[in-house]
């Protein structure tokens, strides 16, 4: 104890205390947030799920989507959008929407997996719609080359051939697809969130969707074989780089070469 009381005025004491506090709260938070994750599953919904989901919906979503999800002037009806739509919108944090605008931005999810599951159960109970995909189509073991062809034909005009995203009209945009989970990619295809069209099973078969996910995950895992990818947005970033970094370094050298020693 004596040693401790002697060192308590040490200049590093405050920093050590701060670190301990941060570690404690961070650790507790991590434990608290993983508790719920373990319980979540994409299996069939139970009656309690639907009931709890209804409560969550009334408290968090009904302001815009209306009681019973019948829609208001601020938000569409959700009858028949299916569990997949809820899982995508709520799971990626797009819903509840931060503010009205051309498009909802992705943000940290507001509900944990169990709550998302319950909300999905409630909305699914209102009318038939696309369900959350089975694990079989999400195994990322499809044909990447076929997926690439499907992607270039169906998706690249908005999401860019390298899945780097692109602009649409009036503030709308197609987001970049790196770091999007296979489940969310699948759900986006079947539900057509925000400004995206629906790619139903007649348009791209579940097998094809599996290939697209495989392709996207594979190019993400491959990284950039040629070095830093400069945002993977093509000639614009390459041009900026050569003008700013390339010419910049060369100008520095020219100044050095022509400077006098005096």
């Amino acid at each position: 104890m004596k040693a401790l009381s002697q060192k308590r005025r040490h200049p590093l004491a405050a920093i050590a205390l701060l670190l301990m506090g941060l570690l404690l709260t961070g650790g507790l938070y991590a434990v608290a947030t993983t508790v719920n994750q373990a319980k979540a599953s994409t299996a069939e919904f139970s009656a309690t799920d639907t009931e709890e989901g209804g409560k969550l919906f009334a408290a968090n979503c009904a302001t815009c989507h209306g009681m019973g999800a019948s829609g208001t002037k601020d938000g569409p009806s959700l009858v028949g959008v299916g569990a997949a739509a809820v899982d995508f919108q709520v799971g990626t944090g797009r819903m509840p929407m931060q503010m009205n605008g051309p498009q909802a931005y992705k943000k940290p999810a507001q509900f944990n997996d169990q709550q998302t599951h319950q909300l999905a159960a409630y909305v699914a109970s209102l009318g038939p719609g696309p369900s959350i995909p089975e694990a079989g189509v999400l195994d990322e073991k499809g044909d990447a080359a076929k997926g690439g062809e499907l992607f270039r034909t169906n998706c690249a005009m908005c999401h860019n051939a390298a899945a780097a995203g692109g602009a649409l009209t009036r503030g709308k945009f197609a987001p970049a697809l790196a770091d999007v989970s296979g489940k969310h990619i699948y759900e986006a295809m079947v539900t057509g969130p925000q400004n995206m069209p629906v790619f139903n099973d007649a348009n791209i078969s579940p097998e094809g969707k599996r290939d697209v996910i495989t392709f996207l995950k594979q190019i993400e895992a491959n990284g950039s074989p040629g070095g830093a990818d400069l945002g993977a947005i093509g000639p614009v970033s390459e041009g900026l780089f050569v003008w700013i970094a390339g010419l910049g370094v060369i100008i520095a050298f020219t100044i050095w070469l022509t400077s006098r020693t005096s």
Binding site: M157, A167, R170, P225, A228, G239, G246, I250, T258
Partner: protein, 556 residues
């Protein structure tokens, strides 16, 4: 000269074997005479004089890396299925050209590095060419006797763009195929002959099976040969004209002050080649350029978002993006005798580029006509000392940059979270207003800098030391400049407007009137350099000069 002197002098016998061989060669090719002449060529030292060298060195690197790529590239549009080591494209149907580009990238040792060296060097080549031309323009180096060399430089810029574009299309990837489709559209928009030219170029309907092979021949044979020819002409004229120099004490239109080529400058220039090579090699080693494996093989049906050309074609793409399809009820597309005239493609694709290159090629003659200046100029202008020219240059550059930015309008929208439509509306406004604002602002800035120069020449520099005089007044002490430094601030020409002069028949022609008006516009706002008399007056009594300064700076 050397032939007559060797005939009269006693026969020279070299002592060593090496010496005898050198003498043998020298007597037959006259190497020592050439070396003496070139070794004594003087180059003024300034960092801004080195961009032409950067362009030249980039071109040498392009030749070297390009030769490597030709060993492995197959410009065939025959269909094949990819069997190389990049799995996301395994067994995908593609052209042999694309397949061999992928092989260069993944299965040829050092291939990806060389591809990236080639592409980065190409971007740097055109960029350094552009900066070199800007330097020449803003310092007035295009004036007599260098007008024709300026034109050769302009031709080089166009050839470089052509060389870049033909090369960009060769891998037959989705991105370059989309770019080629745009060019096809532009060609087809030319009235009457457009479709014929397109069919002739592509050997039938786009994309056909010919274009890659044809572009390849242009890219590795015709265009580089023309570029080399132009480089030879360009350098020949540089030797004939001698180098320009910035104004300074002891420098005039009759001399060149600097270092001789041999040995110092030759060593610097030789070392600089390796520096440029090193910078390009580092970029190629650490930064991806044109990742064709991401884009996939070209197929006319998919179009990728964010399709852009390389930066030097960007301004044309930007102009196309800025052009509205319709304005209210006004359409830009007509059918005349069964021929479609689509002005909304033709105008933006050809008119801005046409204006830029017309002004670029004719500017030396325009200025010569306006100023009636037929003297040789070897001493450069500081940009501020030619305010109207500088303002014209910045206005043109701004116009170019607006179109350039428009080529990236979608990325501006996504990366800064603004609406694509708003970006387009703003850039459309700037397309017309930007050059005007740039002209006015630049001219005012140049004139203000000239006034500042004049003030410093007359009063010396501010020391920040405040002195209280016996009667209570505070003054700041100004330290006079050294003669050497002052020369730069006063030793320049400031032309005055030349009024219209009647011709030999005593008539003031309409053309001469126009010239006089232009001359007035060019030079009506001018700041005269401080004259020796003013300098004399300036030294004794600071206050007197300061009092009269406001009226005197504008001597007009």
């Amino acid at each position: 000269m050397s032939a007559t002197s060797t005939a009269e002098a006693p026969a020279f016998a070299a002592k060593t074997k090496g010496g005898r061989i050198t003498d043998f060669v020298d007597q037959r090719v006259g190497g020592s005479g050439i070396l003496r002449e070139f070794g004594r060529k003087v180059f003024p030292d300034h960092w801004s004089f080195m961009f032409g060298e950067v362009a030249l060195y980039s071109f040498v690197i392009l030749l070297l890396s390009g030769t490597f790529l030709t060993f492995f590239f197959d410009p065939s549009m025959a269909e094949t299925h990819y069997t190389g080591s990049y799995t996301p494209l395994k067994n995908v149907e593609m052209s042999v050209a694309f397949s061999s580009s992928l092989d260069i990238s993944f299965d040829v040792r050092g291939g990806l590095f060389m591809r990236q060296v080639h592409h980065w060097a190409a971007l740097l080549f055109v960029a350094s060419l552009g900066v070199h031309m800007l330097r020449v323009f803003f310092t007035g180096a295009f004036r007599k006797p260098r007008e024709m060399n300026w034109v050769v430089g302009g031709v080089l810029l166009i050839l470089a763009m052509a060389e870049g574009f033909t090369g960009y299309s060769l891998p037959d990837d989705l991105l370059s195929g989309n770019g080629l489709r745009i060019i096809d559209g532009v060609i087809k928009s030319i009235p009457v002959i457009g479709t014929y030219i397109s069919f002739f170029l592509f050997g039938g309907e786009f994309p056909g099976t010919m274009i890659i092979g044809r572009l390849y021949t242009l890219h590795i044979l015709l265009v580089p040969a023309l570029i080399l020819l132009m480089i030879v002409l360009h350098l020949f004229m540089v030797v004939v004209h001698k180098h320009t120099q910035y104004p300074g004490p002891g420098r005039n239109d009759g001399n060149v002050v600097g270092y001789p080529l041999g040995p110092v400058y030759a060593a610097k220039a030789g070392g600089f080649f390796f520096i440029v090579f090193g910078v390009i090699a580092l970029m190629a080693g650490f930064f991806t350029i044109n990742p064709i494996w991401n884009y996939g093989p070209y197929d006319p049906s998919p179009v990728s978002a964010g399709t852009q050309p390389d930066w030097y074609i960007g301004f044309v793409d930007g102009a196309l993006r800025l052009m509205p399809g319709v304005i209210g009820n006004f359409h830009f597309e007509y059918v005349i005798f069964g021929h479609v005239l689509t002005l909304n493609v033709l105008l933006p694709a050809l008119v801005p580029a046409g204006i830029i290159f017309t002004v670029l090629f004719t500017y030396p003659w325009i200025e010569r006509w306006v100023t009636k200046d037929d003297r040789e100029h070897h001493v450069l202008d500081r940009p501020r000392n030619a305010p109207t020219r500088t303002a014209i240059g910045v206005a043109g550059f701004t116009w170019y940059c607006v179109m350039w930015a428009a080529a990236g309008s979608d990325l501006i929208a996504t990366h800064f979270h603004v609406a694509l439509n708003d970006v387009t509306y703003w850039l459309r406004a700037l397309f017309f207003l930007g050059p005007i604002i740039a002209f006015v602002v630049t001219k005012r800035v140049a004139l203000a800098l000239q006034r500042k120069d004049r003030e410093i020449a007359l009063h010396g520099r501010e020391t920040g030391r405040i002195v209280r005089l016996p009667h209570g007044e505070f003054i700041e002490v100004h330290a006079p400049l050294s003669e050497y430094k002052r020369y730069k601030l006063v030793g320049f020409e400031s032309p005055v407007p030349l009024p219209a002069v009647p011709n030999e028949h005593g008539v003031v022609t309409r053309k001469e009137n126009r010239r006089a008006k232009l001359s007035q516009w060019f030079f009506e706002d001018r700041v005269a350099p401080a004259s020796p008399a003013e300098l004399e007056a300036g030294h004794g009594h600071h206050e007197a000069v300061e009092a009269g300064e406001a009226q005197k700076t504008l001597s007009h």
